[in-house]
């Protein structure tokens, strides 16, 4: 019995226009039904014309997640009835998605990406109580519950990222999603704002395939809930299994208030979406050149940056993780780290200051920052790593002292300690310095 979890992540792209029409894609907080046209309202006769940028960005996401790009891809119609789906079908991708077979590494292990495809978002239902003042109704009618549809979101480009069932715990799922969010923000294709719904998570959870069931958990609108819901759900299912039953295949939702998953009222009959190729959009073909041109536009991604910070600048991984979590911070931190190397300062020390004192790099230039660090030096704790740098420098500057020390002149050590104190402007701890020097010269 192995905890078996696969994640489905939906991400709204931040393109200027919608997936198949010219309406603005940025729908959050806009007055209902003000960003619509015949196409995204699904009016009779309207036809979809695909958004090239959205397709390029989907390819960019796929390349960033080490996926294979299908040279030939197409759109399909996925049929189901729901009031927020004005055409009675969603334009999605079925058997020829834009890309397949990638991965994203977590500290718990590699998580395979099954597929990445592009589709259109649906409208949004609003369930409201109104006060009986609809046109033609007498005032003072009893208030009633109504369901309203806002089509501003209808047709917004939506990328679906499906993992392989490679995740084995809530914390791994959480880390995967956090890293995914980082990547998507680095390449700037989506805001990935869970509160605004531009990143939506679903987990498929079971104790392995042999049992023949899986439970889908929706409504996971924070990374914390992903972790909690998966762990809760695994425990719940385990109990059912231990009692000799098989958990029922169902869709559940995470209840924040009750801290548990509860069954949702979805119809559990096997859906038949009657997929067939979207006849209104010709199939797509991507040339090697086209794919490469997108590849060339991908900036350095968080895992590359992380590796660089740790290996090149030798800063500790806890600092590095924090500094690379946002692209802007990472870019600026990298500059500061480069400058600190040039100024002969210890990058790990500087990184520690950036992290611990929450320095806003937008408001301060690397030079000013480093000057400040130097000036305030005495008030700052100096770690072993920094002293080692000065020790190395002192050994380089006083080769004769090294020879003398090795020839038994023990007071040569005092000269070296003195130089380290000078280099560190008095910040280095003399005792530690002496110990480090002795270690080095042994």
């Amino acid at each position: 019995m192995v905890p078996t979890v696969g994640m489905e992540t939906h991400v709204e792209l931040r393109t200027n226009s919608k997936m198949f029409c010219g309406c603005p894609a940025d729908h959050f907080g806009k007055k209902p039904n003000t960003q619509t046209c015949p196409v995204c309202l699904g009016l009779p006769g309207a036809l979809p014309v695909p958004n090239k940028k959205a397709i390029e960005w989907t390819i960019m996401i796929a390349l960033s997640l080490n996926c294979k790009i299908n040279k030939e891809s197409k759109f399909d119609r996925k049929h189901y009835f729901y009031p927020d789906l004005p055409k009675g079908y969603q334009i999605s991708q079925y058997d020829e998605p834009i890309s397949v077979d990638g991965y994203l590494d977590t500290t718990f292990g590699r998580v395979g990406i099954e597929r990445i495809h592009i589709e259109e978002d649906t409208g949004k239902l609003q369930h409201k109580k109104i006060n009986g003042l609809r046109p033609g109704e007498p005032s003072g009618s009893e208030s009633e519950n109504v369901s309203l549809v806002d089509f501003n979101r209808s047709g917004v480009p939506l990328v679906e990222i499906v993992t392989k069932p490679d995740i084995h715990s809530g914390s791994q799922a959480k880390e995967f999603e956090q890293k995914l969010q980082q990547v998507l923000r680095y390449i700037a294709v989506s805001d990935c704002d869970m509160e605004k719904g531009s990143m939506r998570l679903e987990a498929n959870i079971s104790w392995g395939f042999d049992w023949g069931y899986k439970v889908e958990v929706k409504n996971l609108n924070s990374f914390k809930f992903v972790d909690k819901a998966i762990n809760y759900e695994l425990e719940r299912q385990k109990k059912v299994l231990e009692e000799g039953d098989i958990p029922s295949q169902e869709t559940r939702g995470w209840s924040e208030t009750e801290n548990k998953t509860t069954p949702q009222r979805y119809k559990e009959t096997a859906a038949d979406y009657r997929y067939f190729p979207e006849p209104d959009i010709p199939p797509m073909e991507f040339s090697e050149d086209f794919i490469n041109s997108i590849k060339n536009r991908i900036p350095e991604l968080p895992f590359t940056k992380l590796e660089k910070f740790i290996n090149k600048f030798k800063i500790r991984s806890t600092y590095a993780e924090i500094l690379v979590s946002q692209k802007e911070t990472a870019m600026m931190a990298e500059k500061v780290l480069e400058e600190s190397v040039k100024a002969g300062m210890n990058p790990d020390l500087v990184a520690g200051i950036l992290v611990n004192q929450k320095i806003d790099l937008k408001k301060i230039s690397p030079k000013t920052l480093l000057d400040m660090v130097k000036k305030k030096g005495s008030s700052l704790s100096v770690n072993e790593g920094s002293i080692k740098l000065w020790v190395n420098e002192a050994l380089r500057q006083m080769p004769q002292a090294v020879v003398d020390f090795k020839n038994g002149k023990l007071n040569a050590l005092s000269a070296l300690v003195g130089l380290v104190m000078q280099l560190s402007k008095g910040k280095a701890d003399p005792k530690l310095t002496k110990k480090l020097l002795e270690d080095m010269l042994k």
């Binding site: 009016l43 009779p44 036809l47 014309v49 009675g88 549809v149 009657r274 067939f276 209104d280």
Partner: protein, 469 residues
Amino acid sequence: MKNDLTLRSAIDLLKKGEITSADLVEKYLGSIDRDNKKLNAFLTVNEKALEKAKAINNRPNDEKPLLGVPIAIKDIFLTKGLRTTASSKLLDDYIPQYSATVVRLLEDAGAIILGKTNLDAWCHGSSTETSDYGPTRNPWNLDHVPGGSSGGSAAAVAGDLAICAMGTETAGSVRGPAAWCGIVGLKPTYGRVSRYGVIAMGSSLDSPGPLTKNVEDSALLLNVIAGNDPYDATTSALKSDDYTKFLKKGVKGLKIGLAEDYLLPQMDEEVKNLVKNTAKVFEKLGAKVEIAKTLDPRLAIPVYTVVQRSEVSSNLARFDGIRYGNGREYFSEEAKRRIMLGTFSLSTGYQDKYYKKAQKVRTLFIENFALVFKKFDLLIGPTMPGPAPKIGVTEGQAMFGEMADVLTEPTSISGLPGISVPCGFVGGLPVGLNIFGPQFSEGLIIQTASAYEQATQWHEKVPEMIETL
């Protein structure tokens, strides 16, 4: 007044100032007023047509190619502000918020929408009998159907209720009614004319096309409506042509294939003979006519039926009862039948057997045509297996349309263009010749049809109903 006006002559008279646009619109509004009761060709008359015509009278220097010409539009094209029903009561009071690209192009060219014409509801049929607003009648014999689904447009032109009209063809819906009403119907290559704003039937098949009194008028309208449309991803990027330049080219040296498999065994001998006679006309004009072997057109019936029903079931899903006022109970029998068959053929477990298999056979047709058109410039054959049947005989024959359209289905599933021109009469009812060619051969088709038309007089015949007025 006899139906002496063509689009060409109307344009010339308007340019010379011998008539005004208002004269024209008044004439046709008068005809509609008088004869539409008999024909039921129009569902909606454009109340603003005369007003628009009068406004045009003050713009004598405007160079728009169709300036001031009234035109009838099949009620499947959305017309902004003008009721559009698809001949279904489900859309009984639907006023579109936008116009189809074709309508916009026609209006930009100066044409005036005279009104909206009857069709088989949602284009589901080949007789215009499935309209929720009653059948249209054939001007040549009011007891007979005009064909469909663009029956209202064909009857309006043949009965002189309009100079020219727009229709749409999925398989036979332009050419069929043109043949049965003794006029010219052109089905362009799929993707040559925009489908944007045309209520979709079979999205991979639908193709708007003109219904006119002669081939020249057809070329004039194609000039206006053909071309790439940024709102329709399936339109071709290939530049459209000036199709009128093909009108006088003649057929000398052309290799025309008489599609032998299109002369079906059960077909009326008289129809076969009329088509064979056209071969003699072409030879006389200097073309080389030979028998051409093709795939049996009857193989296209199941392919077309499955593809079209599948797409219909998907396209009509948007009429879910939430919007447009009327619910799904407003779908009539034929629409329900098609939705059910299409839904079935797309369902898991049946898709491989039906939809995917149909697409494979579709590819075979496309490949076969490609081979045939290596040998021949064009093919000819009858448009319809026989002349128009009587109203009512199609009742209970759910597959009537597919059988009637058997000769146009192969080209439709292959996306190829074709034209139907009058080539004689059987029992007082017109018969059409179908001239069809490879993709984007509209110029050549118009060239050939025009040569035939100039060598014959069939297109000059008018129904008695008009003669006696």
